[in-house]
């Protein structure tokens, strides 16, 4: 089965949670065998892992005819795209885009990540998708998140192949209900055109059904998973000191410090814990628009000496942070899924998660509280820092539980859904 997949980011260049999920899905599908995945990315760096999916660089796809020499092409983009492919794509131009801002190869540049002209980039991405869809051979289209929905729709209209969209988050999650109409429009349009909607949790599925008015019969829950820790990360995690030697306990919040993640509830709970005990420290790993407000809030409560803001973390740093943490807290107000508690539990850190997060649907060996119930959250933090047997139980059982949640199983379910969708659309 050939899949044309539209993504926005991919490891090792991680901007948000989407990259990890995208990689996991590709790997999980590959493990099913007989899967041929072409993954379109706006601006790959050439150092991506291509074992599970062929990566197609959208910023090297021509949309305007340029008569360029093979060696020149090879010289310019050889590291990310085969020049042969460039010429094949050039044979499938479908409209005159000379008025667009193109470079010497007839391609459009992408800034990558989430720049301020995001809407323009999304539009450009979908123009290029038209060329790709004409040139590539595939059985199904899989578009990840709203950024790639227009591209998915375009590819579907060009090829007539079924479109699967993967909802990793909706604007309702990101904005606590105050949606951006443009984004909502793009999301809704994508869902309306999709033949199958995969949602990362039942929570998201309900949002899609109720707020985007989709037919429940085409919405499916497809929970995320985690990868077993790479040896070098495992080595970091194994350096954890035995709990008897850890005099001060560390409670960690890891994620963007934004409204969606509920950082203020974390501070409120921290305040309650620190009213009682002093041997606990609170770590805010991440950055975001509410960071300064949070620092001010901690200072106003007089707990700034116990709250630490080390800033954005990625890759190895995340696991170094887990290694030094005793409790992980994700107080998200609305979290479509939330992979990080799974990673924390994998690293042997017991987690407290909000009931409003998607991963709560598949996790059992962790503490679940309502995000607004700061008393319960504080109580759970205190208990994990105070009672060794409790900590140990959740540490051991949590790790065991998460080890059973693999991308291979997810890949199997996705493949089955692909087959059903193709059947349905014949």
């Amino acid at each position: 089965m050939k899949v044309l997949m539209f993504g926005w980011e991919f490891p090792p260049h991680v901007f948000g949670g989407l990259a990890t999920a995208n990689y996991g899905i590709a790997e999980g599908l590959k493990a099913q065998g007989d899967m041929d995945i072409t993954l379109c990315l706006p601006r790959p760096f050439g150092d991506e892992d291509q074992r599970s999916a062929k990566i197609l660089a959208m910023n090297c796809v021509p949309i305007v005819w340029r008569d360029v020499h093979y060696d020149y092409v090879k010289n310019r983009i050889g590291n990310i795209m085969n020049p042969e492919l460039y010429y094949q794509l050039r044979d499938h131009l479908y409209a005159d885009f000379n008025y667009m801002h193109v470079n010497d190869l007839g391609c459009m540049e992408f800034a990558g990540g989430y720049p301020s002209n995001l809407h323009e980039e999304i539009n450009n991405y979908s123009i290029i998708a038209g060329v790709v869809a004409r040139q590539q051979q595939f059985d199904i289209i899989h578009a990840h998140d709203w950024l790639t929905f227009p591209a998915g729709i375009h590819a579907k209209q060009v090829s007539g192949k079924p479109l699967v969209i993967h909802v990793h988050a909706t604007d309702f999650d990101r904005s606590r209900g105050k949606v951006n109409p443009t984004v909502y429009g793009i999301e809704k349009n994508g869902m309306d055109h999709a033949d199958c909607i995969m949602c990362v949790s039942e929570l998201t599925r309900q949002t899609v059904i109720n707020h985007y008015h989709q037919d429940p019969a085409k919405c499916f829950t497809m929970h995320n998973a985690v990868y077993p820790l790479a040896p070098e990360l495992q080595a970091i995690v194994d350096q954890r000191k035995p709990s008897a030697e850890r005099k001060e306990k560390v409670v960690t919040f890891l994620g963007r410090i934004t409204m969606q993640k509920g950082p203020e509830y974390f501070i409120e709970a921290a305040k309650r814990v620190l009213d009682r005990t002093r041997n606990v420290r609170f770590c805010f790993a991440g950055s975001g628009d509410m960071m300064n407000a949070m620092i001010e809030m901690a200072a106003a409560y007089g707990i700034a000496d116990r709250c630490h803001f080390p800033g954005f973390m990625k890759g190895k740093q995340v696991f170094e942070c887990f290694r030094d943490s005793d409790v992980y807290v994700m107080p998200s107000v609305s979290e479509p899924f939330g992979i990080s508690p799974l990673e924390a539990m994998q690293s042997g850190v017991p987690s407290i998660i909000s009931k409003q997060s998607g991963c709560a649907e598949i996790l059992d060996k962790c503490i679940k509280v309502d995000y607004w119930d700061i008393d319960a959250m504080a109580d759970a933090m205190y208990a994990l820092c105070t009672y060794p047997s409790f900590h140990e139980y959740l540490q051991v059982e949590g790790k065991r539980e998460v080890d059973g949640i693999t991308w291979e199983k997810v890949g199997g379910r996705i493949k089955k859904l692909y087959e059903e969708t193709i059947q349905k659309c014949k």
């Binding site: 309650r272 009213d275 009682r276 503490i367 679940k368 008393d375 319960a376 504080a378 109580d379 759970a380 205190y382 208990a383 105070t386 009672y387 060794p388 047997s389 409790f390 140990e392 139980y393 959740l394 059982e397």
Partner: protein, 464 residues
Amino acid sequence: MKTICLYFEIHQIIHLKRYRFFDIGTDHYYFDDYETERGITETAERSYVPALQALISMAKEHPGFFKVAFSLSGCAVEQLENYAPQVIELLQELNETGCVEFLAEPYSHGLSSLANEESFKEETLRMSRKIKELFGKTPKVFRNSSLIYSDDIGCMVASMGFKGMLTEGAKHVLGWKSPHFVYNCAANPNLKLLLRDYKLSDDISLRFNNTSWSEYPLFAETYMDWIAQLPEEEQVINIFMELCALGIFQPLSSNILEFLKALPACAKERGITFSTPSEIFSKHKAVDSIEVPYPLSWVDEERDISCWLGNGMQREAFNKLYSVADRVRICTDRRIKQDWDYLQASNNFRFMTTKPSSANMYRGIYDSPYDAFTNYMNIVGDFISRVNSMYPHDIDNEELNALLTLIKNQGEELEVKEKEIARLNTRLKKLSPVDEPKKETKVTKAPKAEKAPKATKKATAKKA
């Protein structure tokens, strides 16, 4: 001749309230009275009252033939006294028919038999006294909370003078043996054992209303036929269950009470009798001894103690609680004693179970085992600090106990002396109406009290 031993347990938990760690040290009241009241009145209305009325009518219809045994936990008695006294009255009415035997059990319905021998004995005796007070008979037979039993527990129970004990006919202990005989404790042959027939008991308490059960609907005739068809030499059929099986586990709409009421007549037809545990112990000899090195119980498929002490959290909570058992026994504060009873109830530990079979279990106010654990530990933390503040922490229990006995003895001594003084005074008054000697005695008394300097404070407190 076959005989049926029917026994019901009456126990309800006193619910703990939501107790956060920041309440530790500031709030010393741990109970959710509303939930407790709601629970007990509902149980009384839906189960205890109709079930007891049915049993009374059975006893009156078959006087001298129908027999039944009961045990109550102290927690249940207190709740019934407070919120549903009509249940106690019904029990007394049933008691007057002479068909009932009341058994002893630990006051708290807790796990003290696994933790602290003295506490266990103390609360069992306390429960026996309570039963005597309510029903006029001192129990001769013992049953432990949830039928927990092991050789060690058997020894303790025998040493308290009980002649027999009820426990579970667990397959992993019995093996090929049948529960339909009287056995004795391997560690102390004087203690006889009655073993629950879990199949026949669960047919009523678990399966009676289950429409997908192959034997549904179950009739009293069929049930008695099963018993009658057992091999001739198997004579004692022990059917033990919670009283709330009638009405709560099996709703009244399933006609379970009609089934129950039909049992004596059907039994009579087939020559089967009813007996109380004491009657069986006096009539039957033990056929064999049973060795139980590891504790068993009547709970879950495993019939062991894993639902209370199966995971590390439960064991930590258990060890924490019983770490102050000796101190609590020594202390005289009534509120501490009362809280101690309620906190011991095994239900509190059961709420923390993480066994897969507990997935849809009733957990009271908690939504997960972790929630149950943190709440309970917060309460125990406060409780322990209260106990420790009663007496200095650095004196070990033995020394403390010795000092307290000293105080108690001296107090008693003083009391005797005071009586003596009063007696002499009246005599003196009779002889000569002079007040002088009174002063003298008072002076002699004062230095005596000061002889135990550490003790004075307590001694005075005691008198007060």
